[in-house]
């Protein structure tokens, strides 16, 4: 597959880009934030995403979706990132959709069409500590009748307070640290014993700490196989990480574009600040890093779409590389704006906040750098 967009992909970008800029610009984030909106995103916009076909990108055609791939999902995610649009797209239409598609069965038949239709928001309940360590899942699920009883806590559950369903990773066997013995459950929002404690995060998104206090679910709630939830969790993580990388790439590109514009406007010492070589070199270095980051995100997306064994390595390369690069873009962005970059009124600071949150999501730079070392045998 050549490493540029096909005509169809370019068309998708041509429709997604102006649509998201119009319907979900930074001003949209500001209005949700400033009105202290308790949902954290707009359900109307979510419906519009469905009308545009975005929510069904990764949903198979026989489940009401478009049956496309991670490259296409990435195109939408990059625009979400560039506009800082608050949206459950990444968790629901990318991560959850990938897990359900891989697992199949009744639970997939129920939820995939709803994702495509924009009728469902799904949250991911995976992390149990402030560091992303998915194989260390310890939340307990014990057999109870012909179902299971779940007890424990989860953290960093984005949109967990308003989701229609939560994908909960739980331990049915084995010990924390082992990939086997994990089971993935689809827990409805109104399950007795489930409580969400939402907190607004630095980027104005809302994440919850969840408590599951003897939550009873039936055997139908199992996504994939009992004890072998890793085979649904693995595609979920790969999709979430690649998707987060694409969204983060958009954040970095947005910050960089803003900064380049500013370098061509602001004058000091009788010159445009973009004439100063120290800033030019830093800008050119950033450009180079952004292009490299863009390349490995595309490679990860393509390898995932091909079902290539090399995808796992490239997914971690992408999350680590984009993590470094977008962080550089927002830090340089604030610095090169001078004092105005520190104001709430100016947008560059919002990019810095979103970078921090997305960088943490599904494994930070260090986590994925370490994973690259492990995958290379050291």
């Amino acid at each position: 597959m050549p490493m540029y967009h096909t005509d169809d992909q370019a068309m998708l970008k041509d429709s997604a880009s102006p649509f998201i800029a119009e319907a979900g610009p930074v001003a949209h984030l500001r209005s949700l934030r400033d009105s202290n909106d308790p949902t954290g995103f707009s359900r109307d916009l979510w419906k519009q995403f469905a009308e545009m076909g975005f929510t069904g990108i990764l949903v198979p055609e026989d489940k009401g979706g478009l049956g496309l791939g991670h490259v296409e999902a990435g195109i939408v995610l990059e625009e979400i990132g560039r506009n800082l649009t608050p949206s459950p797209f990444l968790t629901t239409a990318v991560a959850a959709a990938s897990a359900l598609k891989a697992a199949g069965g009744a639970v997939a038949d129920e939820w995939l069409p709803r994702i495509a239709a924009g009728d469902a928001v799904i949250a991911l309940a995976i992390d149990e500590s402030q560091r992303h360590r998915p194989e260390r899942v310890a939340l307990k699920a014990e057999r109870s009748g012909n179902g299971f009883r779940l007890s424990g806590t989860k953290t960093f559950v984005l949109n967990g307070h308003v989701a229609d369903m939560l994908l909960v990773a739980a331990r049915t066997a084995g010990a924390a640290g082992e990939e086997s013995g994990i089971t993935l459950f689809a827990v409805p929002r109104d399950a007795a014993g489930l409580s969400a404690d939402p907190r607004r995060l630095v980027d104005s998104s809302i994440a919850s700490k969840l408590t599951l206090d003897g939550v009873e679910v039936t055997a139908d709630a199992v996504v994939g196989e009992v004890d072998a939830g890793w085979s649904a969790l693995k595609p979920l993580l790969a999709a979430a990480r690649t998707g987060a990388s694409a969204e983060l790439l958009g954040v970095g590109q947005g910050a960089m574009d803003m900064t380049m514009t500013y370098l061509k406007q602001r004058k000091q010492f009788g010159r445009l600040i973009g004439e100063f070589q120290s800033l030019q070199h830093r800008a050119a270095h950033l450009y180079s890093e952004m292009e490299i980051a863009r390349s490995c995100v595309m490679k990860a997306q393509q390898l995932l779409d091909e079902g290539n064994d090399g995808a796992e390595l490239m997914v971690s390369v992408a999350k680590a590389k984009v993590g470094q690069t977008t962080n550089l873009a927002v830090r340089e962005g604030v610095q090169m704006h001078g004092g105005i970059g520190m104001t709430d009124e100016y947008d560059i600071g919002l990019y810095m906040k979103r970078d921090r949150a997305l960088a943490e999501f599904m494994g930070d730079v260090n986590y994925h750098t370490d994973r690259v070392a492990r995958m290379n045998g050291y």
């Binding site: 540029y4 070589q277 030019q280």
Partner: protein, 394 residues
């Protein structure tokens, strides 16, 4: 289309199997295992000769050049397949040459039909070894300030001046050389000349590098006669040719950076340094540095592939080879810093059998030139700032 490509891949595989000797599938043992061609060239082994001759006959020293100029006329996609298949068996390059990397592309673009038939065939068959006469003592990054002067004598020029850092000038047969032919016009006063290094008045003096090798020279021109038909493009418009050629040079340097040796640094040292009980490299800080490097290497490899796919189909920004050169060479320098750290005190050996006469120390020092030759990193960043980012006053 892709069916044809698959059958091309099968044919190529079979051809390589039959024609690439086992010895030519082993990594180069030292820099002088590279075959550069030219009048004075000698083959190091019968295998090297057989491999070279097979490639010349097939047009595979320059696979994507047209057949009438000594190439195989392969499409971009076929060239990629050939490159992949050669990499798969670690086939050595049959011929390394400034003619292939630099002069050839410029001639393909600017040369007359006669020049193409003459010079390109010579290059493809490895008959003439070329060197590049650009830099002068006072004109490095600011190349356009060059002073070497060619005085118009009707049917020839008389060239006087000095070049420096001329790689392999003492081994080359001919030089492509930037010569000022109009002192009143900075940019439009340079002619891109071609002449024989055996011409009367040409002398070379090797310069010893920190690696202990002398791959390049000071080159002096003392009343050198150059026939008036030995130039490329137009008289006084040599700067256009020079710039075009630099684009290819940068593409080549960055393609090397993105080449087959873009592999995990940590994996290389896992054996010699040892792993602890957790299966981790037994030096946590070095492990972290290598892991960060690996992230950058694998990411850059994706960039290399994307750059080539875009470049060959005209989608790349024309100045993007400058970005590639910057990123690729800085990465390669980092690799060799890690190689030295990973080798510890063994890596310091300069003269010993085990170290193959200090191969890694010398290679480490050689890489420091990567971000100087063909335009420095700082100059690359200047070009990116100006031409890609469109920053003011750059």
């Amino acid at each position: 289309m892709s069916d044809n490509l698959e059958s091309f891949r099968r044919e190529t595989r079979a051809w390589l199997e039959a024609n690439c000797p086992a010895e030519m599938r082993e990594p180069l043992k030292s820099e002088d295992d590279t075959y550069w061609g030219g009048r004075k060239a000698e083959f190091k082994s019968p295998a090297q000769k057989a491999w070279f001759e097979a490639c010349v006959a097939k047009g595979y020293t320059v696979p994507d050049w047209p057949k009438e100029y000594g190439g195989a006329g392969l499409s971009a996609a076929e060239t990629k397949v050939l490159r992949e298949e050669m990499a798969r068996i670690n086939a050595r390059s049959p011929l390394s040459s400034f003619g292939i990397w630099m002069l050839g592309p410029a001639l393909l673009h600017f040369g007359t039909e006669e020049q193409k038939r003459h010079y390109l065939n010579q290059i493809a068959r490895g008959e003439i070894r070329w060197c590049q006469g650009y830099s002068e003592p006072g004109s490095g990054s600011d190349l356009v300030s060059l002073q070497t002067f060619g005085e118009d004598k009707g049917d020839h020029w008389v060239v006087n001046g000095q070049k420096i850092w001329t790689s392999y000038a003492d081994k080359a047969d001919w030089i492509f050389c930037l010569v000022r032919t109009d002192k009143s016009n900075k940019y439009q006063g340079i002619t891109f000349m071609l002449f024989d290094m055996e011409s009367a008045g040409v002398t070379t003096k090797p310069i010893l590098l920190i690696s202990g090798n002398s791959p390049f020279c000071e080159t002096f021109f003392d009343n050198v006669k150059v026939p008036k038909d030995q130039y490329v493009g137009e008289i006084n418009r040599g700067w256009d040719v020079a710039k075009y050629l630099l684009g290819h040079e940068r593409e080549m340097i960055s393609a090397n950076g993105a080449g087959a040796d873009m592999v995990s640094a940590g994996a290389l040292y896992a054996k010699s340094l040892g792993l602890n009980a957790a299966g981790e490299l037994d030096d946590p800080i070095l492990r972290a540095e290598m892991a960060k490097f690996d992230v950058d290497v694998f990411a850059f490899r994706a960039m290399g592939e994307r750059f080539m796919d875009m470049w060959k189909t005209g989608r790349a920004h024309p100045a993007s080879s400058n970005m590639m050169k910057y990123a690729g060479t800085e990465l390669n320098k980092r690799r060799f810093e890690l190689v030295m750290s990973g080798s510890g005190s063994d890596g310091l050996e300069w003269e010993s059998e085990e170290s193959r006469q200090g191969a890694s120390a010398r290679a480490w020092l050689r890489t420091k030139a990567n971000s100087i030759e063909g335009g420095t990193s700082e100059v690359m960043l200047n070009v990116v700032a100006k031409r890609i980012l469109d920053l003011p006053g750059a």
